[in-house]
């Protein structure tokens, strides 16, 4: 009896690094991503490994680690299983790419984390999406976090309702609407402890391929406004922001993202 194993293999590497000026110049973050795709049917099994050197990596080299997961999917991609460490599918984190962003959505304030170790089953049927997720904050696999998200994905509008249960319970309503040249993203988060959060951002490119973004965030009686301008020169992106925390000060931030 001969057992024949056919394994096709392909890989991809990409990454970036970011310099930021915020009172001083420092290397804000960097990341290398490895993507391995296995199998005769290339798309069925994907292994993703991300090595980030995040937040002040000058002082904490190698301290952080990022995504690392196995992704299995059905032939048409409408049913997926992800096991490992990745962004939890809660609220805007489901589709909002937080890379390069100076002004982050509410997960930082509400949950205090973005990625977890766990497993998620997700997929879609016509325009309806679902995510069922169970994850753990640490490797000891204690204190499970359950997340449910049901969404609608139409051509110009994406919206979702999320529920997250850990020690505290959260619900959220998120929306992404594209109208004319405006890309509008928002989320409302409410916790059982009566914490409330609002995040709104309007993104558009009026001229000279200059990405302009107005954002507002409210969390725990704190208002924060942000105006961000970004220009992409293909190899690098220059991003400038004026960040304003109500009753405090205007904080200018300049960020240079290299995409070598």
């Amino acid at each position: 009896m001969i057992l024949l194993f056919l394994i096709n293999f392909s890989y991809k590497i990409d990454g970036y690094f970011t310099l930021r000026y915020d009172k001083e110049i420092y290397l804000y973050g960097s990341e290398v991503n490895f993507r391995f795709i296995f199998g005769e049917d290339y798309d069925r099994l994907l292994i993703f490994l991300q090595i980030p050197f995040t937040s002040h990596f000058n002082h904490h080299f190698w301290q952080h680690y990022g995504d690392g997961y196995i992704h299995l999917k059905s032939p048409m991609g409408n049913l997926n299983l992800k096991i490992g460490r990745f962004d939890i599918p809660f609220s805007l984190l489901k589709y909002y790419d937080t890379h390069f962003l100076i002004f982050q959505p509410l997960y930082e304030d509400a949950l205090g984390y973005k990625k977890n170790i766990g497993t998620t089953l997700f997929g879609y049927l016509k325009d309806f999406l679902f995510d069922i997720n169970c994850s753990f904050k640490d490797k000891k696999l204690a204190n499970p976090i359950f997340t449910l998200r049901f969404g609608l994905d139409k051509e110009k509008i994406k919206t979702g309702f999320s529920f997250l249960k850990e020690r505290e319970k959260f619900i959220s309503l998120d929306m992404n609407l594209i109208h004319l040249l405006f890309d509008f993203q928002s989320e409302l988060i409410y916790s059982w402890d009566k914490k409330k959060g609002i995040f709104l951002t309007i993104n558009f490119t009026p001229f000279w391929e200059l990405e302009t973004k107005f954002s507002y965030k409210y969390w725990e009686k704190e208002n924060n406004f942000n105006l961000e301008l970004a220009k992409d020169w293909e190899i690098f992106e220059l991003r400038g922001a004026l960040n304003y925390l109500l009753e405090k000060e205007i904080r200018p931030i300049i960020q240079l993202n290299f995409k070598i």
């Binding site: 990409d14 990454g15 970036y16 032939p75 048409m76 879609y124 325009d127 293909e234 995409k259």
Partner: protein, 178 residues
């Protein structure tokens, strides 16, 4: 600082960005209603292939285009077509284009995946997109010659036409074999 230089050095050989096909299941059904599965083939190019592509599209490849993904579409086990994707800058941001080819590598259908154009409806209309049907690698795909642009959205029309032309050329040069 040594770490930074080391990373800069490593960084020179990394980075690639491709148009993400956000919703394959839905788009495949629009492009190929009888499809039952798909698989993606990632193709990198060599120096000679790069020169050929750039000569034919009359433009340099984007720095992040170090590889291209071709999606093979199947009905049961029979190959029925190919899907190509591309992102090009429009007047008001990126325009993501999905191109369906039939088994003879002719354009079967073009879809706009994402855009933020003022003339969005016209850009997504069959009247505009159907102009690309049956075009192949050998055909001229050029605004004001073979493709009628949308009035007031010339840059966006040009971006879509360029995406179709470029991806047909890229696919023809690189094909799928490794």
């Amino acid at each position: 600082m040594k770490k930074l230089f080391l990373f800069l050095l490593i960084s020179e050989i990394i980075f690639a960005g491709i148009c993400v096909w956000r919703n394959p299941d839905k788009d495949i059904k629009k492009l190929f209603p009888k499809a039952t599965s798909y698989k993606s083939i990632i193709r990198r190019y060599n120096k000679e292939e790069k020169e050929k592509i750039e000569k034919l599209i009359n433009k340099e490849l984007d720095p992040d285009e170090t590889e291209f993904t071709f999606y093979q579409i199947f009905m049961n086990k029979k190959r029925i077509g190919t899907v190509l994707t591309h992102t090009e800058k429009g007047q008001y941001g990126a325009i993501e284009v999905v191109i369906g080819l039939d088994s003879l590598n002719k354009v079967q259908k073009v879809l706009i995946q994402r855009e933020r154009e003022i003339k969005s409806e016209e850009l997504r209309s069959e009247k505009f997109l159907n102009q690309f049907i049956n075009k192949s690698f050998k055909d001229t795909i050029e605004i004001n010659k073979t493709i009628k642009p949308i009035k007031g959205a010339e840059k966006a029309s040009k971006a879509v036409a360029f995406s179709v032309k470029k991806m047909l050329i890229v696919y023809e040069i690189l094909k799928e074999e490794r």
